[in-house]
Amino acid sequence: MSRNYNVLLAEDNDDHIFLTQKALAKFQEAHNLTLHIVNDGVQAINFVEKQAPYEAAPTPDLILLDIKLPNKNGFEVLTAIKENKRHRRIPVVMLTSSDADVDIERSYELGANSYVTKPIKTDELFIKLQNIPDYWLGINALPPERA
């Protein structure tokens, strides 16, 4: 009945991936949600742009982006996404291990829609997602049609 939502998680730390999955578990129950995981910045960009080996990847409905990623960091990935006309409407939530104002400010400067401080708590994530202007999964929007 409800459509499938694709969430891309860009994170290199396995424990953090596990804990983020835990935090997302409640959403996954409530909504038909598929979590895709990439481990570095270049993979994240390739996934969004459907470059090899992600030719068959769906366009994500939401991106959870760690700031400290190998190869290309979260800021670089964010810049690449927000500079691309086709992708810049995808909501991006930055995951930061420091709640330092400079990292947060930089994220917003580069066009992030929100940020969440690790360790990710379900409640906090939910509140942050609700505050994204075009509410991320269109959960309130009917019909949930989106390219």
């Binding site: 730390n13 424990d15 953090h16 804990l19 835990k22 400290k68 291990s97 420091s98 709640d99 330092a100 104002d101 400079v102 400010e105 690790k118 360790p119 990710i120 708590k121």
Partner: protein
């Protein structure tokens, strides 16, 4: 047209004088010649009237010979005067014009900074002495110039040494800050996992745990939080030490309200009364850092409050000559005079905290100091043990905005 120089004029005068003398002499000679001819004519008249045609009277002979002598003397004198004038002109040229020209040339050299030039004209007269004094002066200047050049060279070397040293220092500083930043981030990653798993553990197995196990879990959580604070502050310290990047005009009233809002849990826990005093101006600075400095000072005041008295904290901004002074006044435990100078050093902690397990890391005030320094200001404290403390930090009034709008910063 250039007006002839003084010595040239002098020489021209000599020549003019000699010409005048010559003219006078020639005129005089002409007059004498005339008188000779008159004598001859008179003689002829006398002779025509007399018998002896060729005979002259002796007085006439004497007159003629005297006149001829005078004529000869006149011509000789005239020649002498001309010769003398030429000599005088030559002498003037040699003794006056040339040395003066040399002196003039030398002053030109000196004016151009060439102190090695010498006139080298010998003489015992005033001009000679003047020139030799001038040469001595130039020699003195030459030596002074050499000394100054040497010192300048030395200064240049010292300067470049200092510059390369400060560049080195800046580079080391940057490396150090980058190191702290990276380490803090990397230290945080496992800690975040620890805290995350602790939360999952409490969430999924909390109810199944014995009270002892819950207590242990609680202690692990408390300590991991302490460690997180420590790492967070190290991170903030490394940032506070960096040069300010975005100076903007902002409302201090606006940010102090944000700081108080952010600290409302701690304020509530202490049941503290926070009051804003006086005028809170719009100033130029980096609002994020000034917010942090204020937050750290208020946090510090809350932390070192007296257990048995209501906690009162007064906040104000004083306008001094060239700086803003942010003051945080408390009625807390105060600081012994011996410790007052050290409280802003890293990892200095006061022993008389009211809390059994103080959360203070000893970094908070060091961060305030770095923030003040990054705004060309300083920090300080006035305190009486048992009565309270007033901490302050200064922000220079001479900072210039770096192009960001107020709305952007506050947004």
């Amino acid at each position: 047209m250039r007006f002839p120089g003084y010595t040239t004029r002098l020489m021209i005068s000599f020549l003019f004088l000699s010409l005048l003398a010559t003219f006078l002499t020639v005129a005089n000679s002409y007059r004498l010649q005339l008188s000779i001819e008159q004598i001859h004519a008179r003689q002829a008249t006398v002779i025509s009237g007399a018998n002896d045609h060729n005979s002259k009277t002796p007085s006439q002979e004497i007159a003629i010979s005297k006149t001829k002598n005078a004529l000869k003397n006149n011509l000789l004198f005239s020649g002498f005067i001309i010769g003398l004038s030429v000599l005088m002109a030559g002498y003037t040229n040699l003794t006056l014009r040339k040395p003066l020209a040399g002196l003039l040339a030398a002053t030109h050299h000196i004016a151009k900074g060439r102190f090695d030039h010498r006139i080298n004209v010998s003489g015992v007269d005033e001009l000679g002495r003047l020139i030799s004094a001038f040469d001595t002066m130039t020699a003195e200047l030459y030596h002074k110039d050499l000394q100054i050049t040497g010192q300048l060279e030395q200064l240049k070397k010292t300067k470049s040494l200092l510059e390369s040293n400060s560049e080195d220092l800046e580079k080391k500083n940057k490396e150090m800050e980058y190191f702290i930043y990276t380490v803090s981030h990397d230290l945080k990653a496992p800690l975040i996992a620890i805290q995350g798993f602790l939360a999952v553990l409490a969430d999924e197995f909390g109810t199944a745990m014995s009270p002892k196990a819950s207590f242990y879990l609680d202690r692990v959580q408390a300590n991991s939080e302490q460690m997180q604070t420590l790492i967070q502050q190290l991170l903030e310290l490394s940032r506070a030490g960096q040069a300010v990047k975005h100076l903007s005009l902002f409302s201090t009233r606006h940010i102090i309200q944000q700081v108080i809002d952010n600290l409302h849990l701690q304020i509530k826990a202490k049941n503290a009364r926070i009051s804003l005093r006086g005028h809170w101006p719009d100033i130029v600075g980096e609002p994020i850092r000034i917010k942090q400095a204020l937050a750290n000072l208020i946090d510090n005041a809350l932390h070192y409050s007296q257990a048995n008295a209501p906690v009162k904290i007064e906040l104000s901004v004083a306008s001094l000559a060239n700086k803003w002074r942010f003051k945080v006044k408390d009625n807390g435990v105060g600081i012994e005079p011996a410790y007052q100078a050290r409280v802003f050093d890293m990892f200095e902690r006061l022993g008389n905290s009211t809390e059994k397990n103080p959360l203070g890391t000893g970094i908070g005030l060091a961060i305030v100091k770095k923030i003040a320094e990054s705004h060309s200001g300083n920090v300080g404290v006035r305190s009486k043990p048992g009565r309270g403390s007033t901490f302050y930090f200064d922000i220079s009034k001479e900072l210039k905005q770096s192009g960001k709008s107020k709305a952007e910063v506050e947004g």
